[in-house]
């Protein structure tokens, strides 16, 4: 009976913790949003900048398809779908969890200290404590682009939103995973900045170009398969087996990121830098 009560109290404690963390995320969102809107001109510039950035990338494919027609059954429509799902996921991920690409620098600069003394889960607190509104341009671009991709239907639209969120979670987990190696390797910032970018680069190509070794790479080290190609396949032709496979793959990266970060955190050495966190 005592064990049962103990289990119940642990469950209640975890539920309360989860609710508190969720509330914290919402409050950070509100706070960050209002602080970013303080610089409206800057916000508009960032958003437009990201949209221009994406349009320029499509320009390359337009030039190439003008010259060659199709590449491994991919034409401009398929590339629009690839770009819409990739930029939409990237936009959600970077907008909501803006600190994910700065974790390496934070570890190096001893900026994790301020999170350690607060009564909230360290990783989720770090991730939500910065909102990257510049990525909102990507989010909007990806969303709008979906309507021009030639695959628009109500079911596809709902699937697009769901897959976009799953992709966002995967990208954040991937970023956390690689940035966490800073705990072991010291100044890992250069690699930590390059590697997560590579998932985007690999994703923004026709799936058919990857064969043998490169196909293995996009399924493991640089998981573009789960970030872009499998979601694109699911929108083109839904399959429950593929969807479940995608879900398991995403969850695996989340668990790996979580485990590596907290294992690394035990090696974290605080600096003597005095900083404030407002």
């Amino acid at each position: 009976m005592k064990a049962f009560k103990l289990m119940q109290s642990i469950k209640t404690f975890r539920l309360v913790q989860s609710i508190k963390t969720f509330r914290l995320i919402i409050r950070y969102l509100k706070f960050n949003l209002s602080s970013q809107m303080e610089y409206r001109g800057n916000f508009i510039l960032q958003t437009i900048g990201m949209v221009i950035n994406d349009v320029f990338l499509l320009f390359f494919w337009w030039i190439l398809f003008q010259k060659v027609g199709t590449i491994k059954d991919y034409g401009m429509n398929e590339m629009l779908l690839v770009y819409s799902i990739t930029t939409f996921s990237f936009g959600i991920s970077m907008t909501l969890w803006g600190n994910q690409s700065l974790i390496s620098r934070m570890i190096m600069n001893g900026e994790i200290d301020s999170f350690l003394i607060l009564p909230r889960p360290v990783l989720s607190h770090i991730l939500v404590s910065r909102l990257s509104l510049s990525a909102l341009g990507d989010l909007v671009f990806g969303f709008v682009l979906f309507f021009f991709s030639g695959y628009l239907s109500l079911l596809n639209f709902l699937l697009f939103i769901l897959l976009g969120v799953m992709g966002a979670v995967l990208l954040s987990a991937y970023n956390v995973l690689f940035h966490s190696f800073t705990f072991w390797y010291g100044d890992f910032t250069a690699v930590a900045e390059v590697i997560p970018d590579s998932i985007i680069t690999f994703s923004l190509n026709p799936e058919g170009i990857y064969t043998s070794v490169s196909k293995l790479i996009i399924q493991t080290v640089i998981p573009a398969m789960y970030f872009s190609f499998l979601p694109v396949r699911l929108i083109k032709e839904f399959s429950m087996v593929s969807f479940l496979f995608l879900l398991i793959a995403d969850m695996s990266f989340v668990l790996a990121a979580y485990a590596v970060f907290y294992k690394g955190l035990k090696r974290y050495e605080s600096g003597n830098l005095i900083s404030k966190k407002i």
Binding site: N42, I52, N53, L57, G186, D187, I222
Partner: protein, 262 residues
Amino acid sequence: MAKLKKYFKIFSITFLNDIKYSKNFISQFLFFGLFIYVFSQLWSAVYSERASIEGFDFYKMLWYFMFTESIMLSRPALHREMSDAIKSGDIVYTLNKPYSYILFCYSKFMSSALVRMFINMVVGSLLLFMILRTCPLTLLGTIRGVVSAFLGLSLNFLFFFLIGLSSFWFEDNSAFVFIYSKFLFTVGGLFVPLEFFPSWIKGFAQILPFQYILYAPSKLFMSGGTDFFGIIGLQIINIIIYSAIVTGIFRYALKRLNVNGG
């Protein structure tokens, strides 16, 4: 010459600092190699149905891409460093030193960029040679390409410095970096040479300075140094023009600097 000595010192200190963390380089260049490999997959798929596009066959295209990507990926994140220094006010600690802030940043930027570019090109060339079993490099073309790449990086520095200066007016300069990078991607000729563009875009690209950062040096490497003096002449003219612009904006920006307390 004595005045330049301090900048060589900054150059060598940055170099030693980069070497100290060589572990970063090794990993980064492994991924650069991977990058080349993946693009070889793309071009392999494209060229599986045709022998040549605009005079570029599969081999030429990969070597061209290797050179442009080597230069592109060599840039250090100067804009971020400047942004942090400007926003935190730390920039004053460098402004009151007996050196030019622009040349201080230039020495640091070039030291990191040249080391990275050199290793990128060595790793990339070895990898491509292993994949393709052919190499278009000649001694003259390589020397001329290196000179042109040096000038291209100098021009690249000026644009990065300009973006860094934008922190005097804007909270976050990353949007400018993204847009600038995409200019290099497209009209700078990163992914495809300018020959691939429709004539109206090609004409537009040729009046912009971005082709002198990636496209022009890479063409020199590929062509064995043809039209060397014409290309570096135009690179130098662009460097002079943008140096004047950078100096002017930097002086104007300093007037906005407001540091409180100590």
